[in-house]
Symmetry: D2
């Protein structure tokens, strides 16, 4: 295959990049200097060498200076290990960290659960979740699991499933579950709010 | 002026209708039957006769069967008069009622306060607000004022201003202020949430 | 019915106005002064008295000063009566006039023909079109009919139909048909153009 | 720098990819299989080896099987060498080829000229253009140069500049200039057309 079309195809396989944009990217690269292309190529090639997946929270992190498979957030002794914030994916975690509101620990599920999913354990890291919950309660004094999932039925279903999964253990160990509060998000106008949001905002008024 | 252009101009003065749509509306009406035009014209002409503004909550309501200037919501004896929900405008009130979550009383401010507004009393019904608060505390057992304003700086500024305005009276009478809860609104995804919303959602977790 | 809901319903029947905007318009009118409401009501009531439909080109025009049912464009002796521009609707005509490129006569079809339309004579003024073509050839020296219809299959179908309808008469009287030229419209970028547009632009290059 | 942030930065330098999407791409790649990453990396690294820029039309083409620096379109003996279509960029050429309307030769300018550009020779390949025009007239029987540039002031300015540049040579050699035709592009509606497009469509009626 033509090398222009070949690289266009590879770019098209990335999420959110259509064939038209993919082609534009290839022509852009053809006009870029060689240094940029080499740097790009090298960083792609070594990506998985340079990045590890944390064996505790399952986020990706730089392998540089890492002595084991535990990320700096998980090994940070200043972080509050009594709380564990459960998120769908790495970008959610990055976005949450930007808010600077939370200084506890994390866990990345790797997905959410659609309704009527027959094999939930294939969609999310439910086994790893349960194991980590038990380990953190025993070793790190974990007291609260906070589900920070999207405010839609799939997010709620996921939280429900995990609460049931860890329910007995939680009851036996005084472990608390919580979910991010519902209400008006920044910029919300009353005129355009759905009934569920208004109801939540009313019940959670402060 | 040409009657087509004349009516186009009148439509253009309505909010959200540009000159192009206005003209399209006029041509549509020219092809409509006379009955529709007459009915439309009559309903416009009699609009203010047929609608009153409530002297208690300031919303608009049908004059049909009204015996004084008090709307059915304000005179409804089943509504919980211990609560008063304060809104910017009538459509906000209509939307809130659809959520069926609230069965208390209302008050429509008629606007919000921009920052550094020199004459706040001209922008919103602050005098009427204060008078109604006092009257409802004394006559109806009002205990809580809930600000249901848009989740933006102008909404917050408006709530601040009114709380200060009624502050002394509230303190002396055990009157409580509250605001709609902040957090994730329906459909919000963690990845795209702003830091303020995540912080609110975290603090208001349930 | 509640007069607010009643007028909301009437506004909702206008093209491009949804129930939410309709309600906003009614609340806007409730806060407008009485003069505006009366003027609006009057202009609606008298719309059809004040506007006539031209018996030659079928556009709508002000009845003020009109001595018969012929509009000023049709009776304008300075306009070039050798050309007749055929349009779908009044707003098309208004937009075309703004371009100031054409000083001939007009005809408004009142619609376009979808493919496989069984009763084309009900969709557009085909009978009136034919009658006007014959009259204008005989009385006004008409030589060219220009179809100024949208550049889509329905527009082309309409032009085809009318050319066939008037074909024999046109052949017998040396009457010419033409269509607006196809090519790049203002702002078109080559990268995003469809193949048909590029083909037309290539064949019609200047 | 963190390898995730590093690759995110590299992706962000590509046109149309913001920092948020860039990060999402990196996390996607972290979850992709190694084969895909290696293939992507390899194709980037060898891109410039595998692609040449044609010394006649300046488009990019596969070096595979190329015996000199002339692309298959330029060396195609079946193509009509009497015409030369001048385009801004490679994607324009690719899009034009899809229309299958043209079987002549090409030339890619590499840009367009803004108004008041002081150094036009740095923005587009004007020198190469002039040299190719002369060579093609003398060696290949070139008779017509077709400017296929975007229908905006910058595109027109570019065509004007090149016509002046090659004007004397063209006059002396009977070389003709043309531009893609202006008019209604596919899907254009009369109601929403600008005056310039209607004027062009009227003058270029067919």
């Amino acid at each position: 295959m033509n090398p222009i079309d070949k690289l266009t195809n590879l770019f098209s396989r990335l999420p959110g990049i259509g064939p038209r944009q993919a082609k534009r990217l290839v022509y852009f690269l053809l006009k870029s200097d060689n240094g940029f292309l080499l740097e790009f190529s090298e960083n792609l090639r070594k990506l998985k060498e340079n990045v590890l997946q944390c064996r505790s929270c399952y986020r990706f992190f730089s392998s540089h200076g890492a002595q084991n498979f535990i990320c700096p957030l998980c090994s940070d002794e200043n972080a509050d290990s009594r709380m564990m914030l459960v998120l769908e994916k790495d970008v959610d975690l990055d976005n949450f960290r930007k808010s600077s509101v939370y200084d506890g620990k994390y866990f990345v599920l790797g997905g959410t659960l659609p309704f009527l999913e027959k094999n939930p354990e294939k969609r999310i890291r439910s086994e790893a979740f349960l194991k980590e919950v038990e380990r953190r309660v025993q070793e790190e004094g974990l007291q609260e699991i906070i589900f920070a999932l999207s405010a839609n039925p799939e997010g709620e279903n996921t939280a429900d499933y995990l609460q049931k999964l860890a329910g007995d253990f939680a009851n036996a160990n005084g472990l608390k579950f919580s979910m991010l509060g519902r209400g008006l998000s920044t910029g919300t106008e009353i005129e355009y709010s759905d009934a569920e949001t208004l109801a939540n905002a009313f019940h959670n008024r402060t």
